[in-house]
């Protein structure tokens, strides 16, 4: 198991806690919680060692598509592919942000 942490610039935004996925083979759980300020803190525990560069790339790809909200994001990864990781992270952010409209 490897523990990684990334801090990225982000936009202050009103989001709510959200959780998607689970820690099963080829999948991951992504938890999002609001964070004051303008940073996204991403904490990762992954079963795949030596994957820091891959995670950095996935996060950059996501940043190219959507603006990260200020948040704390926790990821528990069980050997998911980059495609599944991207999907889950985007789902989590979408869900956390969608709450605003409902509230």
């Amino acid at each position: 198991m490897e523990t990684l942490q990334f801090t990225r610039p982000a936009q202050a935004a009103r989001i709510q806690p959200a959780l998607v996925g689970y820690v099963g083979s080829g999948d991951l759980e992504v938890m999002v919680e609001p964070l004051q300020g303008s940073q996204a803190e991403i904490h990762i525990q992954t079963s795949t060692p030596g994957s820091e560069i891959r995670w950095r790339q996935v996060i950059e790809q996501i940043e190219a598509r959507i603006a990260l909200p200020a948040m704390r994001m926790d990821i528990h990864d069980f050997a998911a592919t980059p495609g599944v990781i991207r999907l889950r992270i985007e789902q989590a952010i979408e869900l956390a942000s969608a709450m605003e409209a409902q509230a």
Partner: protein, 287 residues
């Protein structure tokens, strides 16, 4: 918190097996009545898995909630079969035991509270071995106490099935509901093969294993009370039926002398098959 509760407006249709543990509970309870306790945001992860280099899950693979079924108070626990094979460790086990213990207190205070357990589990999590086993003993004790007041209903739908110490737990419940895709047995096929040899139990012989421990056989043998399709509304109806029946006059686990006699009379010289098992387990029972 979308996954987690709040404004669910009740439109689950179709299969139950594919739902996550959390959605299983949500799909069952009266609309909007689910209140999850110790959510993933409480971050009560296993203290033992990380020490062994194993990625934890925020809810430790167990979701627990209070809610209503036909407007009656219930507690529900669901095990996430996809996380570590649905194995029970210290935290997940304590969540279920603690939930049942609080339900007992409610009943003692005069507030009827029943329980539903959705069991998708291989049993004890071997990475937390003795604490998983201890938790199962505590869950069992709580079920025996709680079921005096209100029904404790177990649901085994698959895909994992219900094995190990938790199969004994299922045997303690007031009612047991199974699907064709559910399996129920004490020992996993590989372990039996390892311990007793391939002639005794071939873990690759899926026909043999499903024939002996699958939902169809367990229902036909009278070891479960209801057999339902993998369908949210069928399951929901079945659970509500069981709840409506109230506490059974005699719990299956306390029916002792008739099963004992049947087993003593069973001819063990030949190996068993599904047909003989059904016969042996239902002999002399009224339909």
């Amino acid at each position: 918190m979308s996954e987690l509760n709040a404004n669910f407006h009740g439109n689950y249709e179709g299969g139950f097996i594919d739902l996550s543990a959390r959605k299983r509970i949500e799909s069952l309870l009266d609309n909007g009545s689910m209140r999850e306790l110790l959510t993933p945001f409480d971050r009560l992860t296993s203290p033992w898995l990380e020490k062994q280099g194993i990625v934890p899950q925020f809810d430790d693979g167990v979701v627990i909630a209070r809610g209503k079924l036909d407007n009656k108070a219930v507690v529900v626990a669901a095990i996430e079969g996809g996380f570590q094979g649905g194995s029970l460790g210290e935290v997940g086990g304590a969540k279920i035991a603690g939930l049942l213990e609080l339900a007992i207190e409610e009943n003692r205070k005069g507030n009827p509270t029943a329980a539903v357990l959705m069991l998708e589990t291989g049993g004890v999590r071997l990475q937390e071995a003795n604490l998983g086993l201890a938790a199962i003993a505590e869950i069992q004790s709580a079920i025996v106490e709680l079921r005096q007041y209100q029904p404790v209903i177990a649901v085994v739908t698959g895909p994992v099935g219900c094995f190990g110490g938790m199969s004994i737990t299922a045997g303690l419940c007031s009612y047991l509901i199974i699907t064709r895709e559910g399996r129920l047995g004490l020992n996993g096929p590989q372990v039996i093969e390892q311990e007793a040899g391939v002639e005794e139990y071939d873990s690759r012989d899926r026909g043999l294993i499903w024939g002996l421990t699958g939902g169809t056989q367990r229902f036909a043998s009278g070891l479960v009370d209801a057999f339902v399709d993998d369908d949210v509304s069928a399951l929901s109806t079945s659970v509500r039926d069981c709840l409506g029946q109230g506490v059974p006059a005699l719990h299956r686990s306390d029916d002792i002398s008739a099963p004992l006699t049947r087993l003593q009379q069973f001819d063990t010289r030949e190996q068993i098959d599904a047909q003989r098992a059904r016969q042996a387990l239902t002999e002399g029972k009224t339909a």
